[in-house]
Amino acid sequence: MEKVVFKKPKYMKEVPFHYCPGCGHSIIHRLVAEAIEELAIGEKTIGVPPAGCAVLAYDYFDVDMGEAPHGRGAAVATGIKRTLPDRIVFSYQGDGDIAAIGTAETIHAANRGENITVIFVNNNCYGMTGGQMAPTTLLDQNSTTTPGGRDKNRDGSPIDLSEMLAITRGAVYIERTAVNSVKNIRKTKKAITKAFKVQMAGLGFSLVEILSPCPTNWKMSPIDACRRIDEDVAQTFPLKVIKDETS
């Protein structure tokens, strides 16, 4: 008897993604939806999409979705979660959103130990606006605003936001993963699931930073973009559990 072993998860709508070929966002969307399904929390989950490429996440997730202004995901999620403490609230944010314009909201939500889950997608650039330098752009990486590559003296160095968040007292679980290979995608799914479990147990702030390919703005093929994550990006942003106070 043949059975389906892989199909679209329950909490993704039947809508084709608008993302570019090889984009990591839709993989991450799927992993979040799979985790929600497996944890049986779809009926009580509220998602907060960002400004940026993933703003249209509300068209893909089949759970309640409330859009935040650029960078304010953690503040909006805080307002929802404090009002409805028994619901599961996640914000979904890109690196420009969370590590530049929304740094303050994120650090203070973590420090307060807000019982929310943050999905932090790091693709080293501002994708939707056309590939400008993000706070996470690597040194020497080309972007539309770092001609000749990001220069430490001129542009500053990439920011280690997850490590910064880890030193706040309210952060419980922070892990950095990637979606550039089957193995890493499976690890990312585990990390997202764990982050939701931290929230379900009421332990406090959880965040998964996910290194994600942006073939369009990196100006390379999807396969090369996945390779770049191993060879370059993960050298600056190592894949690891950054903080785990769950046990």
Binding site: M1, E2, K3, V4, V5, F6, K7, K8, M12, P16, F17, Y19, C20, P21, G22, C23, G24, H25, S26, I27, R30, S181, V182, I185, R186, P215, S221, P222, I223, C226
Partner: protein, 79 residues
């Protein structure tokens, strides 16, 4: 002694596929190729080639292609 092999099958939705090649790159048995015909979106979609390789390489339903597919364009069946 009989060697028990998993038998699988995949279905690629050519309308959703954007031809990113990621599934092609991860299939352990090289059973996925890029089609020569454009889809509605203007991409050359991936297609499952088990039936026309002329070899006896078989899909095991390992789902690696589906796991890495950014567009949830692949369904995997086993059994």
């Amino acid at each position: 002694m009989t060697i028990k092999t998993k038998k699988g099958r995949i279905a690629i939705d050519s309308k959703l596929c954007k031809g990113c090649y990621l599934c092609v790159s991860v299939c352990p048995d090289k059973l996925i190729a890029i089609s020569g015909e454009l889809n509605e979106k203007g991409y050359y979609p991936a297609e499952f080639t088990e039936t026309n390789t002329g070899e006896d390489r078989k899909c095991t339903g390992c789902a690696m292609c589906a796991v890495i597919c950014p567009d949830i364009a692949i369904e995997v069946y086993r059994g």
